[in-house]
Amino acid sequence: MTTITDQPKSQFRLSMLLYDTRYRSATIQVIAMLAFMLLAAWLISNTAQNLAALGKPIDFGFFGERSGYDINQRLLEYTSNDSHLRASFIGLLNTLVVAVLGCATATVIGIFVGVLRLSNNWLVAKVMTVYVEMFRNVPVLLWIVFTMAILIETLPSPSAFRGETPEASMNLFGSVAVTNRGIYVPEPLFSRGLGNIHLFGDSSLRFDVSLDLIAILVVLGASIWAAIAVRRRADRIQEATGTRPTTWYLTLGLIVIPTLILLVVLGFYLGLPELKGFNFSGGTHLRNSLIALWLALSLYTAAFIAEIVRAGILAISHGQTEAASALGLRSNRIMSLVILPQALRVIVPPLISQYLNLTKNSSLAIAVGYMDITGTLGGITLNQTGRELECILLLMLIYLIISLSISAVMNWYNESVKLKER
């Protein structure tokens, strides 16, 4: 900030390092750097001494050892014979799953609640205020254990589905079972499937990519591309002639029919969950721990997002609403076409930090036994191997990378929606 510069002097004296503004900044920087390096050196030498005394030099070899524990909720196959590295990888994926699901759900709930808080229905506005204040002012850890306890206590256990006159029954034509062990939903299966590609061989990072999924995605992508082409053509015709040809059946057909054909070719069917022995089997099992964590994080973060959305909407001047209604737009169209797009610019930056918070809060998964990266690498692996330094530093590094990537992506998005000022 200082703009004063001293008169240039002919020769250099040592005292000029302090007095001369040209050299002073360099002096300060050198001192800061030295202090930092001294601190770092001090910490490292302490660590080295302590580790030598404990007889535990830094060694990541334990990652290759057999982990010996099981993980219930996982995206990829894993057994207790796999390595600690594999377990950590599974945990990392679990962290990402809950973070992505949580961010998406929190955004939807948050926008919904934020808009409803401004509703002219007194009761709705008040109930939403109560929701927001309740969630914002109670620690998230408490909400997580609370949600878990509610799920466990209020939902029926699988045994309630048993017997001649079961107390509980499956929902949605017998395809979904909601129990206090989690939710069992049908899984897509293919009787004439194309099989999988195995990536990374036998290493700890191996995973299978379903060729069926790839095929479906490719076909769906092509269909959507075709649908867009149809729409562009309709746009051109509208511009040229003023009338827009009806295209919705074409679009619908383009998107649905090829995919349907592909599904029939692949022999698609749904694997339904059914009660067998102690548990439901078949279908996909979303564990209670995942649902509780997901729900609690979403509801907690949504309360903050609702406030951000509300502030964003209030920041748009009332003239915009009036202008839009003068154009003859209905109130829901005003919200979606005029207010929200403008409010988004105000909303996005604080939204980024909420996404970051949610991702970091997902580390509280250990409170409900969801095996995320903190539960595997920072939990059981650490306990079993006794390698605190390696595990925790790696854990921090992984979170740091995740956080930095999220903020990079969101900042890039923020740049692209920012008002282009001339």
Partner: protein
Amino acid sequence: MSGVHAHTVAYVRDTMLDQKEPPSTSVGAIGWARQNLFSGWFNTILTIIVLGLVAFVLGNILPWIFSPTWNAASLSECREILAAAGSVSDHGTSGACWGVINERWVQLLFGFYPSHLYWRPILALVLLCVALAPILFASSVPAKLIYFSALYPFIFPWLLWGGTVWGPLAALAGVVIGYVVYSVLSERVNALLGLIVGVAAALIWWFVLSGYVVDGLSSILPIGLETVESRNFGGFMLSITIGVVAIACSLPLGIVLALGRQSDLMIVKYLCVGFIEFIRGVPLITLLFVASTLLNIFMPPGTNFDIILRVMIMATLFSSAYMAEVIRGGLAALPKGQYEGADSLGLDYWQAQRLVIMPQALKISIPGIVSTFIGMFKDTTLVSIIGLLDPLGLSNAIRADANWNGIVWELYGFIALLFFVICFAMSRYSMYLERRLRTDRR
């Protein structure tokens, strides 16, 4: 014109009619309800759904809350009382067991703090409010009180931890020594040199000399309070202590970091940015793991200080990164003219910061600081994961008592309620402040 009008129309009323009462459906309770609850079919449906939902939730919770178990001494006694009162459902007795709160609420508030010394944390809390008053309610308290606020950081640890009175006095003396050295040197020689030497003098006093002085003085004049070890802290007292210490210590750190991040000096800037982004990029729980398992490895061999102090250090580092961002926001919100004005008065960097920039930037940042504090205070529950007995950790310990094994909702509810009351009050205050600041600027 009016003349024309009067002639063309057969009959024109020439007296004003009295104003009519609005229809009874648009005033009073009915009118309010029509306007606010049943305007249009969509709102009506919404109202009915929400009413049903509220009724369902309250109908389930209220009978559970009103349960005559306040004096029960164990969970089984609760069950007997409830069975006698007839509140039995198909899954056993239903109703809260409030006996656990009756027996343990003092423990949930104070942890293991010696019961004859409860006045000390209470006094510390009351004095904290007094010390904060000149900052939070600047308009309605005498300005002289700010001197007490400056002394409070030395009173607070003494009240909570106890020990000889000379300890906090020696710490205060360090500040005085540093300041005297700084002001003498900066007048005679140079401000930067004064700052460096002043800080060095204070550090030397604190780390080398003060120990002997305190020992000497306390053997001559042993005035002091009974020492309480920090592992006796627990419950809400622990949460509040960690929160207050973290925020108080992170404020100066945060200012330095924010200035560093804004600074033109490249190395300083990148060090600050690196620190802030690192801390903000990792979850607090990993930092607590560091406190509980790694900090001893980073310290010189044989160093060992207890876990609550280590947690406070990590919490301070954690909140200082967030504090830096809040203060940076305050700095950025200041109009550029303020910086230029300060420069044009010929103030140097530190003078400009001290006299012009910081007072305004900090004032704008107070709502942000309060919400950082709320966040920190809520995050103190995480210490239960590393085995400290904060309210949540204590709830587990209480459930390990054979009498109360199986209690869930009562403890969680009580803890949630207390957190809610404290955080809600603070967030309301912060909103009030935001409104006031907004009017100030207009």
